[in-house]
Amino acid sequence: MPRPSKKSRSLRRIHVKTPGGRTTVHYKYRKPKAAKCSCGAVLKGIVRERPYKMKKIAKTKKRPTRPYGGVLCSRCLRKMLVEKARNK
């Protein structure tokens, strides 16, 4: 029987095969949801990790370096810039 605190469904269950050939269950916290653009597209090049792991990662590795990187998808940004250039 697992510990009562491990029975929470907010924990992810991972089946791990031990060196002895037995499969055991490991419990881990779930990852946050993927970041999305306002158009609904999933943003690429963005790290999905818990805060304690995000701390250790460099800023340049967490999101694209272009302006609005990590906020808008590349297609939306391109549309926005083209509109700006043409309306001027």
Binding site: L77, R78, L81, V82, K84, A85, K88
Partner: protein, 139 residues
């Protein structure tokens, strides 16, 4: 629309949204750009041409482009070559060497003169002292 001197807006990469000028046409698909962006080869698909145009030669330098951009009041940056920093270590070594070379010369000149005189004086003084002492014992 794509010709030398045409001002464009870059759509992709770290310089997206900034003004660039076409400096040279390299290919059907690629051009060389400069201005408020890094001077580099760029795909035409990543540029949005505007109505503005400036007079520059083919392959104009960054400084020439900067002058034209200032007239249009577009921000640019000026490249400055780094000033060479002085090396403090070598200076220190020189100073130490000078001081070392100067000191021993002075000592050599001074020491022999000083030592000779006192030695003579001591011998004289010792001999003088001893003689009267011996005489005293004899008496």
């Amino acid at each position: 629309m794509i010709e030398i001197g045409r001002i464009c807006i870059k759509l992709a990469g770290r310089d997206a949204g900034r003004e660039a000028v076409i400096v040279e046409i390299l290919d059907n698909n690629y051009v060389l750009i400069d201005g408020n962006v890094r001077r580099r080869k760029c795909n035409i698909l990543h540029l949005e041409p505007t109505e503005k145009k400036i007079d520059i030669k083919k392959g104009a330098s960054h400084e020439e482009v900067n002058k034209e951009f200032k007239k249009l009041e577009i921000t640019t940056w000026e490249t400055k070559p780094k000033e060479k920093a002085e090396r403090p270590r070598r200076q220190r070594k020189k100073k130490v060497q000078e001081s070392k070379t100067e000191k021993p010369e002075e000592k050599k000149e001074e020491k022999p003169k000083k030592e000779k005189q006192p030695i003579d004086a001591r011998i004289v003084s010792v001999t003088k002292k001893k003689e009267p002492a011996k005489k005293a014992e004899k008496k």
